[in-house]
Symmetry: C2
Subunit: 292 residues, 2 copies
Amino acid sequence: MGPTTLLGPGDDAAVVAAPDGRVAVSTDVLVDGRHFRRDWCSAADVGHRAAAANLADIAAMGATPTALLVALCMPAELETSWAEGLADGLAAEAATVGASVVGGDMSASPTLTIAVTALGDLGGRAPVVRSGARPGDVLALAGRIGYAAAGLTVLTRGFRTPRLLVEAYRRPQVPYAAGPQAAVLGATAMIDVSDGLLADLGHVAKASGVAIDVRRDVFEVPRQMADAARALGVDPYTWILAGGEDHALAATFPPEVALPPEWRPIGLVTAGAGVTVDGGAYDGPRGWDHFR
Amino acid sequence: MGPTTLLGPGDDAAVVAAPDGRVAVSTDVLVDGRHFRRDWCSAADVGHRAAAANLADIAAMGATPTALLVALCMPAELETSWAEGLADGLAAEAATVGASVVGGDMSASPTLTIAVTALGDLGGRAPVVRSGARPGDVLALAGRIGYAAAGLTVLTRGFRTPRLLVEAYRRPQVPYAAGPQAAVLGATAMIDVSDGLLADLGHVAKASGVAIDVRRDVFEVPRQMADAARALGVDPYTWILAGGEDHALAATFPPEVALPPEWRPIGLVTAGAGVTVDGGAYDGPRGWDHFR
């Protein structure tokens, strides 16, 4: 148990430190066959992904994750070792940010379902919401983008390599520390990129009442992604601009902020509405609606 | 939104006030056909029950509920009005304690599943855990007991009345305020009675390393319960001692504490182990494992 766990599992409720006097809290649910497939991911992988999705939401507010809770619904025929693997993955991912799994509930169910709730501490900072972007702000990105979507396409087509991409899908590498860092730097808006970059920037543009333009040439296509794209006949920018689940963080900053290397400038905020790429409409798919 | 909601739904995470600097947090999941049946309960009823189960866990720590989050998995064929009814029930139950639904997630799923997380504030008090009961303490109960179990038996047998019992099952009347009140009075242990009085007292006895004896004659059998018991051929004390889901609160208090009317003495804590009724073993069912 991490230092923020004041009372762990086993009582009617857990008790978690909230030194800031406010708590950031978010919940996400994963359904078997919809948000993950057991033949593509180990139980521990699913635990990492479920934790990452929630911890990234906390980071995207500029907060530091403190705790996870898990509600697990499991078919009777699934081995208990699967639940143990899931718990291991959840705990390991939480531990990367100093958080712990402090509580949970379990039930039998015909459908394997994992609902995770994450708590976080704002450390005295104002939460960075989606609605604060202003014309003139710089749009910047922390973390990898397109890798998980590429890995998912690879798996969907029946392949297991390139390993870099498949592992990126199974265990996203989330830039958790960049969230509080952005808040300290004075980010005006921030979002966890989970549905696809353009789709999630659309949420920021709408909430802030601004237009956002993304520069396509700032995104390097890594070699393995370029190879996979060629082999599978996919435009790699579809993964980068419209693929989700890397849990990169996108934030807007006033132009005078000196951005550290974690935050790469990828575009600009202007007056208007909507999201454009290189000043024009993007005609590929805009978001990632999981697989069906 | 209540005064504890600093940032409501619509961003990556909500922000909830935690003036105490600690947050009590608990999660519970309800699965269609296992924890509820849609032909027995309206969507709003299910919302009330799901919220009550979680808010009672917070009260049982001596905390005041501040917020709920909901992860809803719903079959595509279920009308959206069902989800709206559920949301109404959740919000209405939360409002009875000044809490709000601050966030959530939704997914399609073959199995209707509702995972709720509740947050609460301890108001400067130590959490009342299950492990603090000491020999000599008085065992006391707040809230109704046996009503929901009786209502469930009535519904299981195909009846819809007595209304008092059926409504108690559909919308439990939880003594939320009695939780923080017990903490202020100096309760040494407390638990939310959700699985059945004797089963839940067994958790307290085990965690505290004590024995607990319950006096059967302190429980009045209300007229409607006596009538239903006679008509259905059930011993009403099975509902009272082993039935769950009223979310009464059971707590232990040092003998010198003057108990207010909300807290009825129902037994004693002694040295030893296990739970007895009138000093002897109880030979009926001890707990309530939902319906199958």
